[in-house]
C-alpha cells in the first residue's frame, strides 16, 4: 500500500441476507483512494455505492475483506476524535434539529469536553463563514433553513476539525441548479484550500464532471473501471454507455473539461 493511500479496500464482500436467498452487492472488490483526489462513485441503483461509503465510515461491516482508512483498520474509526480523521456530509444533512446552526457546527469540538467554550464557538464561526454563510445565520434553527443552507451547515460541521478525508453522499441532490452550482464551486474551493481528499456518490453529471479527478464505476459487484472522466466514458460497458452517453449525458458532456486542480 503506498504511503499516500487515504482509503484502501481489499477483497471486499458485502452480502445481504434476504429471506430465501443471499443478495451479493460487492464481491472481491478492490479500490484505492490517494491523497488529494476527488473520486466519484457511480453505478446503477442497488450497486452498493452508499453501502460502500458507509463501510468506509465504519457504519456497516463487510462480510469479508479489509478496509483501511488513513492507514488504520476501519474498526478503529469510531474512537474519540473521529471527526478529526473523516468528515461526512449526509444526503439530507443530518443536522441535529434541537440545536442552532452554530451549536450544530460546534458539536464535535464541544463533545471533546476540554476546549474552552469561546474558542469552540469562534472556531465554529470561522467554519460557518468559510462555507459561505453569514454570521446572522448562526442562531437559526435547522427547521428554518433552505436545502442549500442545510448542506452548507452540514459541510461546516463535517469540516470543523479539519479532517483530511471528506465523504459526500449526493452532495447536490435536492438543490436547485443555482444552489447546486454554488455548492459545487464551494466544494472545489475547499478541496483546493484545505487539501482535502474527497469521495462522493452522485448521480448528478454536472457535479460529477465539475469536481471529479477520477470516476469509479461500480457494476457487476466490482469497480469495473476507474480513471479520469474521459477514460471512463470511453470504456465499453452497457451501464457506462447508458449513464454517460444517453441524452442526459450528452448535455452534461458539453461541460466536460479537464479538472484544473488535478493532482
Amino acid at each position: 500500500m503506498r504511503d499516500d493511500t487515504m482509503v484502501g479496500i481489499r477483497g471486499l464482500r458485502t452480502a445481504f441476507e434476504l429471506p430465501g436467498r443471499t443478495f451479493v452487492v460487492h464481491d472481491n472488490l478492490d479500490f484505492d483512494v490517494r491523497r488529494g483526489e476527488v473520486v466519484s462513485l457511480v453505478g446503477g441503483s442497488g450497486t452498493g455505492k452508499t453501502v460502500l461509503l458507509r463501510q468506509i465510515l465504519g457504519l456497516e461491516r463487510p462480510a469479508a475483506g479489509e478496509i483501511r482508512v488513513l492507514g488504520q483498520p476501519v474498526s478503529e474509526m469510531g474512537r474519540r476524535g473521529a471527526a478529526s480523521r473523516v468528515g461526512m456530509l449526509f444526503q439530507h444533512g443530518a443536522l441535529f434539529s434541537a440545536f442552532s446552526v452554530l451549536q450544530n457546527i460546534a458539536f464535535p469540538l464541544r463533545e471533546l469536553r476540554t476546549l474552552p467554550r469561546e474558542l469552540v464557538l469562534e472556531a465554529a464561526m470561522v467554519k460557518l463563514q468559510m462555507v459561505g454563510l453569514k454570521p446572522e445565520d448562526a442562531s437559526k434553527m435547522p427547521a428554518d433553513l433552505s436545502g442549500g443552507m442545510i448542506k452548507r451547515v452540514a459541510l461546516a460541521r463535517a469540516l470543523i476539525m479539519d479532517p483530511p478525508l471528506l465523504l459526500l453522499d449526493e452532495p447536490t441532490a435536492g438543490l436547485d441548479p443555482d444552489s447546486s452550482d454554488g455548492f459545487v464551486s464551494l466544494l472545489r474551493a475547499l478541496h483546493r484550500d484545505l487539501a482535502l481528499t474527497v469521495i462522493m456518490v452522485t448521480h448528478d453529471l454536472d457535479t460529477l464532471f465539475e469536481l471529479s479527478t477520477r470516476i469509479a464505476v461500480l457494476a457487476d459487484r466490482k469497480v469495473i473501471v476507474t480513471g479520469p472522466p474521459k477514460e471512463v466514458i470511453a470504456f465499453q460497458h452497457p451501464f457506462v454507455h447508458d449513464f454517460f452517453l444517453g441524452q442526459r449525458g450528452q448535455r452534461a458532456m458539453e461541460l466536460l473539461r479537464e479538472y484544473p486542480f488535478a493532482v
Binding site: 476524535g81 478529526s84 434539529s97 434541537a98 452554530l102 469540538l109 471533546l112 469536553r113 476540554t114 476546549l115 474552552p116 469561546e118 474558542l119 464557538l121 469562534e122 472556531a123 465554529a124 464561526m125 470561522v126 467554519k127 460557518l128 463563514q129 468559510m130 454570521p135 446572522e136 448562526a138 442562531s139 434553527m141 435547522p142 427547521a143 470543523i160 476539525m161 479539519d162 484550500d193 487539501a195
Partner: protein
C-alpha cells in the same frame, strides 16, 4: 520528554530577540488532550504580541490551533511572524472570518412580561384547538352515522386491537396487585373492629367505582396516549399529514375518529377487565388474611355494590377513553417538524392525559355522589 506531536512552545534567542517557536501538531484533536490547553496557555502568556513568532517548525496547524494563536495575539498579527504558505492560508481565513458568536440578549423584566403573555396566549390557543378538535370529532361522528360504509373501519379494528387487546396482560397484572395490596391494608384495620365481613363492601365499592376505571385509564393513557401522539407526530415530521391534506382527506375523519372510537369502546372493556382482576386479587388476599372464603365474597358482592355504580364506572371509562384519544391526537397534530418538538409533544400528551383523567374522575365523584348507594 514530550511526544513529537504534542503542541508546545519553545523559546529561541534569535539575534538577541526573544522568539516563540511553535512546535508540534496544533490541531483540535491534540489541543483537546486533557490539561494540555492550560499548559499551553501558561506558556503562551510568556510571549506578548511584540515577541517574534516562528510557526515554521509546527508539524500541523489547523483552524482551531490558528484560532487559539489569533485570540492570544489579540486579533491582530504580531509584527514579526514567520509562516509557511499553507499556515498563512489557514491564518488568513481565521483572520478574515473571525467574528463574535452572537450572544442571546439577557431577559429583562419586559422580556419576562412578554414571555408570560406569550405563555398565556399559547395556552389559550391550545385550548381553542382542543375545542375545535372535539367539535370536529362530533361532526365526523354524524358524518359516519349518515354514511357508515365510508368509515375508516380497518383502522378502527387495528386500533381496537392495539389499544384494547394488547393492554390486557399489563392491566391484569397491575389490577391484581393493587387488589392484593388494598385488601391487606384494609384487613389490618377491619380486624381491630371485628368488622371483617365489610372488606367485601370496601373492596367492591373502591375497586368497581373508582380504582378499576382509574387504573385502567392511567395505564392506557401511558401506553396508547403516547403512541397516538408519536404516530401522528411522526406523520407531521415526514410530511405525511400534508400529503393527506393535499389528497383532500380530513385528518380528523381519517386519524382522530378511528382512534377516538377505538378508545371509547376499548376503555370500558379494559376497565371492567382491570376491575375483575383487582377483585380477584382482593378476594385471594381476603381469604388468606381474614379467612373470608371466595364463596362468601362472591355472594356478598352484589349486595354491597349497586347497579348504579357499575353504570357510573362504565360511562366514566367511555369519557376517559375519549379524552385520552383527543389529547393524544391534539398533541400529535401540534407537533412541529423536528425531533425535539416530537419528544416534547409526547411527554405533554401523557402528562396531560393522566392529569385530566384524575381531574375528571374527581368531578364524576362529586357530581354523582348520590348514584349507586
Amino acid at each position: 520528554m514530550h511526544e513529537p506531536s504534542t503542541p508546545r512552545l519553545e523559546t529561541s534567542a534569535d539575534g538577541g530577540v526573544q522568539a516563540a517557536q511553535v512546535l508540534g501538531q496544533w490541531t483540535a484533536a491534540q489541543l483537546a488532550r486533557p490539561g494540555l490547553l492550560d499548559q499551553l496557555r501558561a506558556a503562551l502568556a510568556r510571549f506578548g504580541s511584540n515577541a517574534a513568532w516562528d510557526l515554521r517548525g509546527a508539524d500541523q496547524l489547523d483552524h482551531v490551533g490558528a484560532q487559539l494563536l489569533w485570540d492570544h495575539w489579540g486579533h491582530q498579527r504580531p509584527q514579526r511572524l514567520e509562516l509557511l504558505p499553507a499556515q498563512s492560508a489557514v491564518l488568513e481565513r481565521v483572520e478574515q472570518f473571525s467574528s463574535e458568536p452572537p450572544r442571546r440578549p439577557p431577559l429583562g423584566w419586559r422580556g419576562r412580561y412578554l414571555a408570560l403573555g406569550e405563555g398565556v396566549l399559547s395556552a389559550a390557543l391550545q385550548l381553542r384547538e382542543f375545542v375545535r378538535l372535539t367539535g370536529q370529532l362530533a361532526l365526523n361522528t354524524l358524518r359516519l352515522a349518515r354514511a357508515p360504509q365510508e368509515g375508516p373501519w380497518r383502522d378502527f379494528s387495528g386500533h381496537l386491537y392495539h389499544i384494547g387487546a394488547t393492554a390486557l396482560p399489563i392491566t391484569a397484572l397491575v389490577g391484581f396487585l393493587i387488589g392484593v395490596v388494598l385488601a391487606y391494608l384494609t384487613a389490618k384495620q377491619l380486624r381491630q373492629f371485628g368488622a371483617d365481613a365489610y372488606i367485601v363492601n370496601i373492596l367492591g365499592v373502591a375497586l368497581i367505582r373508582e380504582l378499576g376505571p382509574m387504573l385502567a385509564a392511567i395505564l392506557v393513557a401511558g401506553r396508547s396516549g403516547s403512541s397516538i401522539t408519536a404516530q401522528i407526530g411522526v406523520m407531521r415530521v415526514t410530511d405525511e399529514l400534508d400529503a393527506m391534506s393535499v389528497m383532500g382527506i380530513s385528518h380528523s375523519f381519517r386519524l382522530v375518529l378511528p382512534r377516538a372510537m377505538a378508545l371509547a369502546i376499548a376503555m370500558p372493556l379494559v376497565s371492567v377487565w382491570t376491575t375483575l382482576c383487582a377483585l380477584a386479587g382482593g378476594m385471594l388476599a381476603a381469604d388468606i388474611s381474614l379467612g373470608i372464603t371466595p364463596t362468601y365474597f362472591l355472594r356478598a358482592l352484589p349486595d354491597a355494590v349497586q347497579v348504579g355504580s357499575l353504570v357510573l364506572a362504565t360511562s366514566k371509562s367511555v369519557v376517559f377513553g375519549l379524552l385520552i384519544a383527543l389529547i393524544g391526537c391534539h398533541y400529535g397534530l401540534q407537533v412541529e417538524p423536528n425531533t425535539q418538538s416530537l419528544g416534547r409533544g409526547t411527554t405533554a400528551s401523557v402528562v396531560t392525559a393522566i392529569t385530566v383523567v384524575i381531574l375528571v374522575d374527581a368531578l364524576f365523584a362529586i357530581a354523582f355522589q348520590e348514584v349507586g348507594f
